[in-house]
Amino acid sequence: MKHAAPHHTHNWALSRWGAVFHSSHLKNFGFGLLICALVCAPMLALIIEALRNFNSSTWRDLLAYTLPNASMNTFIILLFASITGLLYGAGSAIALQFCHIPMRCTLVFLCVLPLAMPTYISSLGLMMLLDQNANIWGAQTLRALLASPFGAGCMFGLSLSPYVFLTCTTYLQRVDLSCINAAYTMGISTPKIARDVLLPLLRPACVGGCALIGMEVLNDVGTVSFLGVTTLTTSAFHMWAAQGQLGTAAQISLIVLVLAFGLLAAERKARKALSFTIDANINAKPLTLKLHTFTHYLFIIPCLVPFLVVFFVPLFVFLRASWGQSLPAFTALATLHSIGLGCGVAVLCCVSAFILLGMRRHAPSRVMSALLRTATSGYGVPGTLIGLGLLLCLPMLRNSWEWLFPTYGDAVVRALLVSSPILVMIALWIRFISVAQAPIEAGIAALSPTLEQAAYTLGASPAHALRTIRLPLLMPAVLSAGLMVGIDSIKELPATLLLHPAGFETLPTLIYAATHREAYEEAAPAALVLIACCLPILFGVLKLVAKR
């Protein structure tokens, strides 16, 4: 057997490459390659721009004055966002899994609710509250704290703690927890079990959740700009926008890209570790930690703090500020644009993720897996960088189009790319395709291949089998993927702000415009509309996840 191994490996590799280049799969491979090229184009454009414009004197200034502060701030924000996210996200997941807490379903919903409010909106609400009550003792100290890298990190941590909560909860439902019972049988105390068994067990879920938080932090421009904290992302943006040094901006962006891809790799590694869990015994009695009754109730705190601080309090501030006020001009149109954008990007992401995953299922090979990994790497890239990269691609696109169609070149490029929201949709599609991929991949993995095989045996065509078997069975996964992409697209600000065409305001850009001219009282009603748009979608996601 041992002697046969190399030959077998060789054959295996050949057969895989053969599978890729088989005439029936060449089309699939081409489609995957096209998506990868589209995802990579903005990043490649940035890299080329960075390499083309290297200037040592600019870098001397950057290293002396800009980068130390921006890097330190980014590090502090990432650190405290992770710590806070872990504390409240993992804390609430453990609490709801292992403690006797009343109203468990309500608390699950409250734990996820911060996702309905973007971090920049929560920060706006809290700042408005602190400024309105500046004379109350401690308000100024709190304000100063919030406007520091530490405060910004905590804001991100609280606001994005649902990511850690969701990954930990999903993990705890799938993993075999009998080791905890075994530890109790051996007479080990609860704190020791928490430290030596539970926390190591949760490590992959925590790493995955924190990596998601980190990527969101690197993507952010709105919150840190509003709080007045300079990060690497804002430095790149400032270098481009205020000083007109696109090359230097691209070079700083490369640092952000390296960080983002590091986080993406950590998230993928964690996700891979999560997929190797032992299935939980669904008939097992729910496990409860042996704690004092009062301690059980104490565990409600991590469930409630993020909801109260980053959702309820800002919501209350916005409701008070909006009381008796009419909605600002363009709100109805901006709402329509936001929902339309959300729907459009959701459809795009779901369709392409579905096709990519289907292709890998039918022609499994390392190349297809690599293509899928590349196509879904956009989530790690901040929206500003995707937007910047797409803008850098515009001259090349224009020139190619003009070369192909000299008469209509400009008019078509203007109509398609510059005067319509298509460029915004492409940017969001690049960024959120992985958000759609994860639930659809889980759905496909749960699907037994024998069902389709049976259909083929009975004479069904692949299209018929897809329409009558695969799609109906995968519909919950596709719907939840679509809803998740929708909510992210509706909230998205950096790429939309950079690429939106004339007359195409969305709710986030409207709020940003109002805060930009310091008319917070006008931003409040629009923020309420944004939350109202996100809430039913989030509710839909939760309902679908609960059913699955």
Partner: protein, 346 residues
């Protein structure tokens, strides 16, 4: 079954929304003009409506905080931009430098816009001006005349509030300090102001007035029109209290004059609607538009024959720094580097 129905409902809603949002935003038959603007659409709406009433040309508006010049440059000949509207001279100068403007030498514009506030070649012109003022506590600051230079005096230690040093309003002021006093002196001055800050630079100009009312600091820097916006705010009446807590000092009124920046406009190089763009530029300096603009954004009209809004007029007579605005904007990058060097925002 339930999921199939849900999926169909979702698909239907998606299809309706997508088709609605992909519908062209303007009527194809309508005469249009596209403005790339750093001033947000709500503030510009009255002006656009007046322009449409007069000429029948509807205005499409793209708002951004930064990066519009680069966007126009990268869009190249396919750019739909007809007019570029900025709230800072540096961006107009940059637009000309990177070659995205075209010259428009209209006799009326040359006549009514002072040479100090327009490009010599006709690449851009100012529409209005605004002054960078000192807000001081009515009760805690007795001085009636202050200079920008005084903000670095040790007597104001822990008493000054200001927004981010990298904000265009402050960068423009720092550039004017460089133009007037030199780079080394400005660095010493900026480090002195930094040492006098009561808190880390943050928020906007209105929040500095609020901080003065709350006793966080005694002195702040802010633009002239924010005083009027606070005084006349009926949506958030508490802002009237902020305005009432401060007195406005026109800095350097006794010597070189107060630093002013401009809101300005330029015609884009590849403007698809050039005739409309020229009509818009002419409209912007017309007495009616100047009055409307001055009343809606509370800036000083560029035309001498149009009266300043009464709320702004009560702040006092403005003696503007006579230095050509282009000489000030030439130091913007140096100003940004100084802000980083002294760690002003940290």
């Amino acid at each position: 079954m339930k999921h199939t129905i849900a999926a169909r409902v979702c698909s239907l809603i998606s299809a309706i929304c997508i088709s609605l949002f992909l519908i062209p935003h303007t009527n194809a038959q309508e005469k249009t003009l596209t403005v790339y603007s750093y001033r947000d659409p709500v503030l510009m709406a009255p002006l656009y409506e007046a322009f449409k009433a007069k000429t029948g040309i509807a205005v499409n508006h793209i708002f951004a905080k930064d990066g519009l010049e680069e966007r126009i440059q990268l869009e190249g000949t396919a750019s739909p931009a007809d007019v570029i509207l900025t709230v800072d001279v540096a961006k107009l100068v940059k637009a000309k430098t990177i070659g995205i403007t075209q010259n428009f030498n209209d006799p009326e514009i040359t006549k009514v816009v002072p040479a100090q506030f327009r490009d010599g070649d006709g690449a851009w012109m100012a529409v209005s001006t605004r002054a960078r003022l000192i807000y001081a506590s009515k009760t805690r600051v007795s001085a009636e005349n202050l200079r920008y230079e005084d903000l670095a005096n040790p007597e104001f230690k822990g008493k000054i509030c200001v927004r981010s040093g990298l904000h265009p309003y402050n960068l423009s002021l720092i550039s004017s300090m460089i133009a007037n006093t030199g780079l080394a002196a400005t660095e010493t001055w900026l480090a002195g102001v930094k040492a006098n800050l009561a808190r880390k630079p943050s928020g906007g100009d209105r929040e500095q007035a609020q901080a003065i009312m709350n006793g966080v600091c005694d002195i702040a820097l802010g633009n002239s029109y924010y005083v009027a916006l606070m005084q006349t705010n009926t949506k958030d009446v508490v802002q009237q209290e902020w305005a009432n807590a401060i007195k406005v000092i026109m800095p350097n009124a006794q010597d070189r004059g107060t630093h002013v920046n401009i809101s300005g406009a330029a015609i884009a190089k590849n403007a698809p609607n050039l005739v409309h763009a020229k009509a818009f530029m002419q409209f912007l300096v017309s007495p009616a538009a100047q009055k409307l603009y001055a009343d809606s954004v509370y800036e000083y009209p560029i035309r001498a024959d149009v009266p300043v809004n009464p709320v702004i007029a009560q702040l006092g007579v403005l003696k503007a720094d006579p230095l050509p605005i282009t000489k000030i904007s030439a130091h913007i990058i140096e100003a940004a580097k100084l802000v980083e060097k002294v760690g002003f925002d940290q």
